[in-house]
């Protein structure tokens, strides 16, 4: 019943948080290779939806299918196997503060593969370069890194196990516009060349216009628009109009 080409599918997600319904039937599907942005005002439950998709928070109702498996009914063992096939970049990078960048990237490799140290170090060095970090960042601790470097290091860790799917929570928040565009570019390049599917929760309009194939708008607990950026931007809905005009005004002046 699930489409084989869909990497991620959600069906009728209902979430009740703090006494009110945050999601009232959220459904969408993401085909392989697509980069999809999830937008919505603060408090509309983008991050919550993301946490439900990666198996951290159980929705009150509804299904989340990753690679065709209903992750909330398969049990923890199977879920952890599915977890090996996707990577997550958390908002602040969520790097382990007691480990160096290289050790952080090595954690998933050490846990899920039995590679000899030599190969492991080679892989770690490659991932660190792949996300555009200088090699001398490898020996640094997260507290010694700038915000942009933390995100890159987090991305390197997320990519360590060659995932097919990437979840990103606000990948450009807290970055200056130049670093944010560089990060967008990096993400797009990586998604294209590694054949990644990506779902990102974001507030950044430039990310939407710059690198995303499709936009899903979350409002009032439902998906109110879903499609390419220019189509969504042209949707006649009050919130969407003010969302997209909030920036275009700035841009023309």
């Amino acid at each position: 019943m699930s489409h084989p080409n869909y990497v991620l599918e959600t069906r009728g997600i209902h979430t009740r948080l703090g006494g009110h319904w945050l999601h009232r039937g959220v459904s969408f599907s993401v085909p392989r290779g697509q980069v999809v942005a999830l937008i919505g005002g603060s408090g509309t439950g983008k991050s919550v939806l993301l946490r439900e998709c990666i198996g951290l928070l159980r929705p009150d109702e509804g299904q989340v299918r990753l690679f065709g498996e209903d992750i909330w009914s398969v049990g923890l063992r199977r879920l952890n196997q599915v977890r090996g096939r996707f990577g997550v970049l958390f908002q602040e990078g969520a790097l382990f503060s007691s480990l160096t960048v290289a050790e952080n990237v090595a954690v998933p490799l050490k846990e899920h593969t039995r590679l000899p140290d030599r190969l492991l170090n080679e892989l770690v060095a490659m991932k660190i370069r792949l996300v555009g970090l200088p090699m001398d960042a490898a020996g640094k601790r997260p507290s010694e890194l700038s915000g942009g470097m933390k995100k890159r290091a987090g991305l390197a860790r997320a990519l360590a196990l060659e995932p097919e799917l990437l979840f990103l929570d606000e990948p450009t928040s807290g970055l200056d516009p130049i670093s944010a565009r560089e990060f967008d570019h990096l993400l797009r390049v990586l998604c294209d060349s590694l054949g990644l599917t990506a779902l990102l929760a974001t507030h950044d309009l430039d990310t939407l216009w710059g690198m995303v194939d499709r936009v899903i708008v979350l409002h009032g607990g439902r998906v109110i628009a879903d499609g390419p950026v220019d189509e969504v931007a042209a949707t006649d809905h009050e919130w969407i109009r003010s969302y997209f005009s909030a920036h275009s005004g700035e841009r023309t002046t």
Binding site: S97, A125, L130, S143, E162
Partner: protein
């Protein structure tokens, strides 16, 4: 069919490498074995063919690129055949990124350098301690001149958590130690039929050493650790910076109330400890040594001079000041990561215990006279 394979054939026009199977992270070791015995003439063109390749990921690409490079093959001499367009972009990206920079440098640690680093760290820490002490003294002086600066709310909250909160545990501990001490001492004095002398020993030990020391150790573990963790967590969430930018002194707001609360409550807790220790001992004396409560306390009145009790109580504020100073100082030294809070909390407990025991030793040596 997933097992990675490699066939190599060399002729005058160059070298053909035929990749087969899945060259990806799950089979990386097998793939590396395939490449292990590879010999490629490094001045001739290398043709890499992907007709039988089933899967390729960045780990597989890295392996091919790195091993060919290690054999001295110049990447521009390598031509790629029958790869899918997506695989080609992947290969170009990885080859490009791997080319960009040299190997990671491993920092060597010379022992002398280590020693130097350690000494400089030690000196820096000492100076920071002194600076912190100076700040506290200054804040204390300000407080004396303008008592209105005192944060009443914070002080009462601390008095409650540090003092009242510690009351049950301290009462129980000192009571039990009194019981055990009287029991063991009782066995000894019974041998000489000098049961009543258990009172002399207990009075002196509890009032002069046991109660002040035990209370200080308990408070160091309980409140000292809490102070460091609280202040450290506030440092992590930048609350201390917020206090400073609001024009308040973090020392006035955070350190002085804690210091005062500890200096006030520790003598009181010590006194509770004195009472409970003696009570515990009297229980044992009455039940095991045939010393009635009345006899016990009559004897205590005549053999335990007030000065001994006061001496024990004098020590308490000094312990308290040392614990509070160490705990707050370590709280402020926390850096902005999760590990640091734990590390400094541990440091606080260790340092304040050592400090309490050292200070106690100094008191014992400088006041050797036992009044009778």
């Amino acid at each position: 069919m997933d097992t990675p394979g490699l066939r190599c054939s060399t002729d005058e026009s160059g070298c053909d490498l035929r990749l087969s199977g899945a060259w990806c992270i799950r089979h990386l070791e097998a793939a590396e074995e395939q490449l292990a015995g590879l010999k490629v003439p490094h001045d001739q063109p290398v043709r890499v063919d992907a007709r039988e390749l089933t899967r390729l990921d960045s780990a597989g690409v890295m392996l091919v690129v790195n091993r060919l490079r290690a054999l001295g093959v110049v990447w521009s001499n390598v031509s790629l055949h029958h790869f899918q367009p997506a695989q080609l972009t992947l290969i170009h990206l990885v080859a490009d990124r791997l080319d960009a920079r040299g190997r990671p440098r491993h920092r060597k640690r010379h022992p002398l350098r280590f020693l130097g680093q350690w000494s400089v760290d030690l000196l820096r820490r000492f100076l920071a301690q002194m600076a912190f002490l100076g700040q506290i003294v200054q804040a204390g002086w300000d407080l004396l001149r303008r008592p209105g600066l005192l944060r009443h709310r914070e002080l009462t909250v601390q008095l409650q958590t540090v003092g009242l909160g510690a009351l049950p545990i301290i009462a129980m501990m000192t009571f039990l130690v009194g019981v055990v001490f009287a029991f063991l001492l009782g066995i000894q004095v019974q041998k000489f039929g000098a049961n009543i002398f258990v009172v002399d020993g207990i009075g002196l030990a509890v009032a002069r050493e046991l109660s002040p020391l035990l209370t200080a150790i308990l408070v160091a573990g309980r409140s000292g650790a809490a102070f460091t963790a609280q202040i450290g967590a506030m440092k992590v969430t930048e609350e201390i910076d917020a206090i400073a930018t609001l024009g308040l002194s973090p020392i006035q707001v955070l350190v002085l109330p804690r210091l005062l609360a500890l200096v006030i409550t520790l003598p009181l807790l010590t006194f509770v400890g004195d009472v409970m220790g003696v009570l515990g001992a009297s229980l044992v004396a009455a039940s095991q040594l045939d010393v009635t409560y009345y006899t016990f306390f009559e004897r205590l009145k005549s053999v335990l001079p007030l000065n001994t009790v006061l001496f024990g109580l004098y020590k308490a504020p000094v312990f308290a000041a040392a614990i509070a100073f160490i705990a707050c100082r370590n709280g402020f030294a926390v850096s902005r990561d999760a590990r640091s809070v734990g590390a400094y909390t541990t440091t606080t407990v260790v340092q304040s215990l050592v400090a309490v025991i050292l200070i106690n030793a100094v008191f014992a040596v400088t006041h050797p006279e036992i009044p009778d």
